[in-house]
């Protein structure tokens, strides 16, 4: 890939007819109407992370989507095997303002655009991505496609119309492995816990975090039932992230229901959504999702705010059905598996970011404590999971969104001679 070769014009068309022009980069654009594997149509979503492009495109959760990077320069430090979140690129296409192919960056093994090209993933650069993002923000996530400049707009529009909408798509089944794989087997020798994971498209960093904490992780295809998962008496169950609509991955719901209560369970992202559905809660599609590395999430058990890595288009519905949690009262759902309590709250739009089911010994978060890309603030959740495996139970605490939670958790204001009296709200009603 040379910077000087004259780029081919290309354009992004959205299903509402809005068009953004740019120049093709990455793999050549396939013909309109190509087979699903090679097509460059799908849901157009944006991520606001400023780096970590390689982690993003290899994250299986992006299957079926065209990624818009809001940061203009993408490709600055090339690509490197250590940044792979799976064995391949899952995004269907990449949309950028200013693509960079910097193959001689200090730790680069290859240039970003050369790699996209080798992987057969088309991309476009020179797009006014900010205008595009504003459009999606205002109108909601929608389907779209990337096309060669020579493709007639009407043909492009037809190709987009043929693309199924994201809501209702079971994409997890397309990324789940064919057979069981075990990672971190070496930890077994030192008595490390065995964690059986339902692999709906797990990110390598999740596995890495668990293995780094001494666990043996066994990854199961989506089709495996409770018996397969419980084989060898694992110490815990993990529910992974993954792409598509959690509402249609119904086939794993009975499996989760059968496992709940028998073992400590931890779920991330789609795993969080699937667990919630398994206990009877609803999920719904967000207007344009959360994708990036700067969303503030409050851990209601400590009152602390962490900056999180996010990548999801669906969310768990609140008890009142509004999708938002306002006010400082503890939030709980009554489920067939005992109460579910809100444990983590998104401070941007006050959506559900995590909950705990003390009676079922289960905890889940919507966001990505494994980061990659994004901040590492939430790594403690893996520690909590491992701790839970060791102690066997999840202590129930009433979680409040206000200051009382912080008081209860002992996160008192730091030193200082004459701080005001603490608010008297009682936060330790555990």
């Amino acid at each position: 890939m040379s910077d000087t070769a004259a780029p081919r014009p290309a354009y992004l068309l959205l299903e509402d007819g809005t068009r953004f022009d740019g120049a093709a980069c990455g793999a050549p654009l396939t013909d309109v109407g190509a087979a699903p594997a090679g097509r460059s149509t799908g849901e157009v979503v944006f991520t606001t992370g400023m780096a970590g492009y390689q982690e993003s495109v290899t994250d299986p959760s992006f299957a079926g989507q065209l990624i818009v990077f809001t940061y203009p320069h993408i490709g600055n430090y090339g690509v490197n095997g250590s940044a792979m979140e799976s064995d391949r690129i899952h995004a269907r296409a990449v949309i950028m303002r200013e693509a960079v192919n910097h193959e001689d960056a200090p730790t680069a093994e290859q240039g970003w655009l050369d790699w996209l090209s080798d992987c057969g993933v088309p991309a476009i650069t020179g797009v006014d991505t900010r205008a595009l993002v504003r459009h999606i923000r205002d109108k909601g996530a929608m389907r779209g496609g990337l096309f060669d400049g020579d493709v007639a707009q009407a043909d492009a529009a037809a190709a987009i119309a043929a693309e199924p909408p994201m809501a209702g798509q079971d994409l997890a089944s397309t990324v789940t492995p064919a057979q069981v794989e075990t990672v971190g087997a070496e930890n077994a020798a030192s008595g490390g816990p065995l964690i059986a994971a339902i692999d709906t498209g797990i990110k390598r960093s999740i596995v890495r975090e668990l293995v780094a904490r001494g666990a043996v992780v066994r990854l199961h295809p989506l089709s495996d039932g409770p018996e397969a998962l419980l084989e060898g008496d694992p110490d815990a169950i993990f529910l992974a992230n993954g792409p598509g609509d959690p509402g249609v991955v119904a086939h794993v719901i009975p499996t989760i229901q059968a496992l709940l209560g028998s073992k400590p369970v931890f779920g991330i992202c789609m795993g969080h959504q699937l667990l919630c559905r398994a206990v009877g809660l609803e999920t719904y599609k967000l207007p344009f999702g959360h994708r990036g590395g700067n969303h503030p999430v409050k851990d209601l058990s400590t009152g602390r705010v962490e900056i999180t890595s996010q990548n999801h288009g669906f969310a768990v519905q609140t008890p009142d059905g509004s999708g938002r949690i306002d006010g400082d009262e503890p939030v709980r759902w009554e489920t067939d598996f005992g109460p579910a309590e809100l444990s983590h709250l998104n401070l941007y739009d006050r959506t559900v970011e995590g909950l705990v089911l003390p009676e079922a010994n289960a905890a889940t978060v919507q966001y990505h404590p494994e980061a990659a890309p994004g901040p590492n603030d939430a790594g403690y959740l893996f520690d909590r999971f491992l701790e839970r495996i060791r102690t066997g139970s999840l202590a129930g605490v009433t979680r409040q969104t206000g200051d009382a939670a912080a008081q209860a958790a002992g996160v008192a204001p730091t030193a200082g001679t004459t701080k005001p009296a603490a608010t008297t709200e009682n936060g330790d009603a555990a």
Binding site: R130, G416, K419
Partner: protein, 1070 residues
């Protein structure tokens, strides 16, 4: 946590005068803090000696003290005002040091004042290298390895030499611990003699051995070298719930080795992988926790080895900083404002993001553009100074630009510098020569680098020579053709205005903060602008661009006042500026802010989308004035004084006609365009002469010559006598009193706001001269004549707004030196001194009001108090330049002293400017023959105050002849072994260096050469003692010393002055 209600009154410390390394950014942060704390219902007591700040506008605090930022005066203020808390983290290093001193001397404890924002231990930990290193080690963070190798016992030259094997063992240990390359610095050698960078084991041993021998105490400091590593900064904020966010990452394009203030920097960081960046982020959070900053912002600097990905912590500042101002402007996250709220108890999640109004401040801004900051230098003003950039900051200002890509932002930043002269590159210089030229970092580095690329230099060559990351070199190569066209013209990109919104458009922004980028248009070919200007009429205010000597914060002050006035008139105020350090580029200041370069093309780009009623060019110094004609030609309405009137005042010929018509006299002058012509004209006008090239700013290259030879020498050195450019020659009125006047005019009526008498005689640039308001030695008749002439000139020129006129009083006659129909540098000083905001009044006139509408006092200076302005010079930063005042302006900032009498006000101003006058000790006097009569008066006053007098031969004789005891100093050539001459006297320089002198009065005998006088002034500045280079300033100082004998001078707030404008206020309610 809710807001604290156990504190009611909070003291905020400003940063004092603008100096290199501490500029207008602290006015921005302090003004924000004042605003926020008052909104929260606290009473604010503000101390700042710098009158040219928005924060010292009386409406920004409940009590505003323009007093010296020294423990004594601030303790007096604390005693009077009894604040509950002191917030020291918004006034730079000055405020932090002051807070530390007030803690250490017991003042805070005595009056029960709590330090908020950062406590004493945290300040100490960040400031003290050893404590910091211990804290970092505890937190598991690495710093550059460093240790001392000794060849002697103890820390003195008398120590016994250590046995050879112990020395050898230390050297082995040093190389093992520090690694290569290493920096070796012998202790106590002049200019680091005997040190160097060791790259090999052999070199290391050789340099360390040499250094041990060179060091008088047998010690060398060995540091791990991080030169060439990447330099990164993270802006961190923490609240009292231990929630921490990173506001912004900043990458220096220049690798380690150049001070970040002198580096071209970029936000966000560009070259780190996400994983490595997150490591930096984790470490920055660990640093703020380890240092123990409870609430507020800190800046953490890192060195990163790009190949090994090794990270080292370099330093942290537990306060808002220049970088945090940059980060605030770069992201839209107002760090100072939020830091102030955190200091009074709020948590990040309880504070609303100003820009979205819907999300909390507990988040990390993500940006979808690139920000480039470029330093602005002023080396041309300091002849003889080494221009190589190093870890010692030398820039005087900065410009910031925002673009959709790095190339766009970089090109805009280059334009924003507003260089007076292009970087000179010989037509026949080869790429290889240019690569060599940029090996050492200098101000011209990037201009030469782009040319080297055009002439064929490879990225490898450039990287090898500069250490600049290859990513930047690739991007620079893409714009090398024509940086101003950093757009893909082939793709049909058009200028498109985008918003700065902290969130990459994820949420709708309500704050109108814009920049232009180049983007493909929409399907109809229209730019996808985000500007929604509504229907309200707007007025565009052009800012002053990067701070530089001669155009500083004073002009930003005026622009901010203009914005306030335009808003108050019901119109939308639209600000265009590119200086991130300022209040004018705070998005709160105007209705719409455009962060753009101040070039005609960029300004017209804004005007196209804004369609303003008019443009104000009068307040931003020379920068907007230069654009006035072009704007008018493009059909834009210039508000206030017409472009024609500005030209008439600036053009010497037509201004001469104005004066002739009015019958006012000016010193004789001539213009010439050739060497011979200039000599001839010089004879005609008569010596001494003030000479300068045409179109210069801040008196650049202006000199006084006394004869034909001096003129010839000047012409050879400074003037371009070959290209037909004009050279101005004015008769210089020796020993004249210079007078500055700021006045308002509406076309029919004139109101004189301030008449200032300079302390230094004419010939010293007005920006560098101390001045006193009202005049202290002009008679009524002269003052009336000055008023009449001011009125005459303003009306004749047809001024609408402000005019500044400079006069000289010489032999009882009045001369007009020059007139500038615009806001002058002294507007804020006069406004504070008289309690009338001149810039606001001028803006109201420009918007159509009459002087009669403005409710102005008849005599603005009836109050009876005296205000003195003193300039602050940056000589300590420029080793090698002469510390002399002259016709070329070289000060970076100013302070004000207010008191009931002139000597007290002068003493306050001196103290505020950093050289408090001594109350006793030895005074060293050395003056020219012409100054001797006046110097004797100085000597008499100082003698009466108990000073011992010391003088150079001639001065000493003159003083002794008058019957005063005065010792002579030795001449350098008479010095014998032991450092004294036969009579046992030291030289002046060694006396000063030995700390035996408390004050120096030294007037120059000639220019250029490195005279004794030069060495004396240099020594005085190094020793930090007052050095007065004119005899009139010496006299003022002597009087001030005499007046200060009665104990500390009373402090007074501006609010008291305004409400009780009688001298009595200054005597205070002590």
């Amino acid at each position: 946590m809710p807001r604290r209600d156990d504190i009611k009154r909070i003291m905020i410390l400003g940063s004092g005068p603008i100096v290199i390394g501490q500029a207008a950014e602290f006015d921005y942060s302090g003004a924000q803090a004042c605003k926020v704390l008052r909104e929260e219902g606290y009473e604010v007591v503000l101390v700042n000696s710098n009158p040219a700040t928005i924060m010292t506008d009386p409406e920004f605090a409940d009590a505003t003290y323009v007093e010296p930022l020294l423990p004594g005066p601030v303790a007096q203020i604390i005693e009077r005002e009894r604040p509950d808390a002191l917030l020291p983290t918004l006034g730079g290093q000055t405020a932090l040091n002051l807070a530390k001193a007030l803690h250490e001397d017991g003042t805070l404890e005595k009056f029960g004042v709590e330090l908020i924002g950062a406590n004493y231990d945290a300040i100490n930990c960040a400031e003290d290298r050893d404590l910091f290193a211990i804290a970092m080690e505890k937190a598991g963070l690495a710093m550059p390895a460093s240790l001392i190798v000794r060849s002697r016992e103890g820390d003195s030259a008398d120590g016994a030499r250590l046995p050879e094997e112990r020395i050898a063992a230390q050297i082995d240990e040093a190389i093992a611990k520090v690694g290569l390359p290493a920096i070796v610095r012998p202790a106590f050698t002049l200019g680091g003699r005997g040190g160097g960078i060791a790259r090999t084991d052999e070199e290391f041993r050789k340099i360390v051995r040499g250094g041990l021998d060179a060091s008088p105490i047998g010690q060398v400091l060995v540091d791990q070298s991080v030169i060439g590593w990447g330099e990164f900064e993270l802006e961190v904020m923490r609240d009292n719930g231990d929630n921490v966010v990173i506001v912004c990452s900043i990458e220096n394009v220049d690798p380690m080795g150049v001070h970040t203030g002198d580096s071209v920097t970029v936000a966000p960081q560009q070259t780190l992988t996400d994983r490595l960046y997150q490591k930096l982020r984790d470490q920055a959070i660990a640093v703020i926790r380890a240092v123990g900053v409870e609430t507020g912002g800190s800046n953490v600097q890192f060195a990163v080895n790009p190949t090994t990905e090794e990270i080292l912590v370099i330093e942290m500042n537990p306060r808002v900083s220049r970088s945090s101002a940059l980060a605030s402007k770069a992201t839209g996250f107002p760090i100072a404002k939020i830091a102030a709220r955190l200091a009074v108890g709020y948590r990040l999640e309880e504070i609303t993001n100003d820009i979205t109004k819907a999300t909390p401040a507990a988040f990390e801004p993500t940006i979808d553009y690139v920000v480039v900051k470029w330093p602005r230098f002023a080396f041309e003003k300091f002849a003889g100074v080494d221009e190589t950039l190093s870890t010692h900051m030398k820039s005087v200002g900065e410009a910031m630009s925002i673009g959709r890509t790095f190339g766009q932002a970089f090109a805009k930043a280059m334009r924003s510098r507003e260089l007076d002269a292009k970087v000179q590159i010989a037509d026949d210089a080869t790429a290889a020569e240019l690569v060599e030229r940029i090996r050492a970092p200098r101000t011209e580095r990037y201009d030469v680098l782009l040319e080297a690329i055009r002439r064929g230099a490879s990225d490898d060559q450039l990287h090898e020579a500069t250490g600049i990351d290859s990513w930047y070199l690739r991007e620079l190569r893409r714009i090398a053709g024509d940086p101003d066209l950093a757009t893909d013209a082939a793709a049909g990109e058009v200028r498109t205005f985008k918003s700065v919104d902290t969130c990459a458009a994820e949420f709708a922004a309500t704050t109108p903060y814009f920049y232009s980028g180049w983007e493909r248009p929409d399907a109809d070919g229209n730019p996808r602008h985000e500007v929604d200007r509504g229907d309200n009429p707007s007025v565009v205010i052009l800012g002053a661009g990067p701070n530089r000597i001669g155009q500083g914060i004073e002009f930003d002050y005026c622009c901010v006042h203009a914005a306030m006035t335009v808003r108050a008139s019901g119109r939308d105020a639209v600000m265009i500026n590119c200086n991130p350090e300022t209040v004018s580029t705070d998005y709160d200041t105007s209705d719409r802010l455009y962060f753009e370069p101040l070039t005609l093309e960029d300004v017209l780009g804004v005007i196209e989308v804004e369609r303003p009623e008019g443009v104000i060019v009068q307040f931003g110094g020379q920068t907007p004035l230069r654009l006035a004609q072009g704007l008018q030609d493009a059909g834009v309405t210039i508000l206030g004084t017409s472009v024609e009137a500005i030209d008439r005042a600036e053009d010497r010929g037509s201004f001469g006609e104005v004066l002739a018509r009015l019958g006012y006299q000016a010193p004789p002058y001539a213009t010439a365009t050739s060497f011979d012509g200039a000599l001839e004209a010089g004879e005609e006008v008569g010596f001494p002469l003030l000479v300068r090239p045409s179109y210069v700013l801040g008196g650049r290259a202006m000199e006084i010559v006394y004869d034909r030879d001096g003129l010839a020498d000047y012409l050879t050195r400074e003037a371009d006598t070959t290209s037909g450019k004009e050279i101005f020659l004015d008769r210089f009125l020796e020993n004249a009193i210079e007078v500055d006047v700021d006045a308002l005019c509406d076309g029919d009526d004139v109101w004189v706001g301030g008449i200032m008498q300079h302390v230094e005689e004419a010939g010293i640039h007005s920006g560098d001269s101390a001045c006193v308001l009202p005049p202290h030695s002009l008679n009524r008749e002269m003052i009336d004549r000055i008023r009449d002439w001011t009125r005459g000139i303003a009306l004749e020129l047809g001024v609408r707004g402000l005019i500044n006129i400079q006069y000289a009083v010489h032999g009882g006659a009045l001369y007009v030196i020059e007139a500038n129909p615009r806001a002058s540098r002294t507007v804020p000083f006069v406004s504070k001194a008289i309690g009338v905001p001149l810039a606001k009044m001028a803006c109201r006139i420009m918007l159509g009001e009459r002087i009669g509408d403005l409710d102005l006092p008849e005599d603005p200076f009836a109050g009876g108090h005296i205000a003195v302005k003193e300039a602050v010079m940056p000589f300590d930063r420029f080793v090698g330049s002469d510390a002399l005042l002259g016709p070329e302006m070289r000060s970076t900032g100013e302070v004000m002293g207010v008191a009931a009498d002139f000597p007290s006000a002068f003493a306050k101003a001196q103290a505020a400017a950093g050289s408090p006058l001594p109350s006793g000790g030895t005074a060293f006097i050395s003056v020219t023959d012409a100054d001797k009569p006046a110097a004797i008066a100085v000597a008499q006053l100082l003698h009466d105050q108990g000073f011992r007098l010391l003088g150079t031969r001639g001065t000493q004789e003159a003083i002794t002849r008058m019957g005063l005891p005065c010792d002579p100093v030795a001449k350098l050539q008479d010095i014998e072994a032991g450092g004294t001459d036969a009579a046992g006297h030291r030289t002046a320089v060694s006396g000063i260096e030995a700390g035996e002198v408390a004050i120096v009065v030294n007037t120059p005998t000639g220019s250029g050469a490195r005279t004794d006088g030069y060495e004396i002034r240099r020594a005085a500045i190094t020793a930090g003692i007052p050095c007065l280079t004119t005899v009139s300033a010496g006299l003022a100082a002597a009087r001030a010393i005499a007046s200060g004998r009665g104990g500390p001078l009373p402090v007074v707030s501006l609010q008291e002055l305004n409400q009780d404008p009688v001298g009595g206020a200054a005597r205070g309610r002590e």
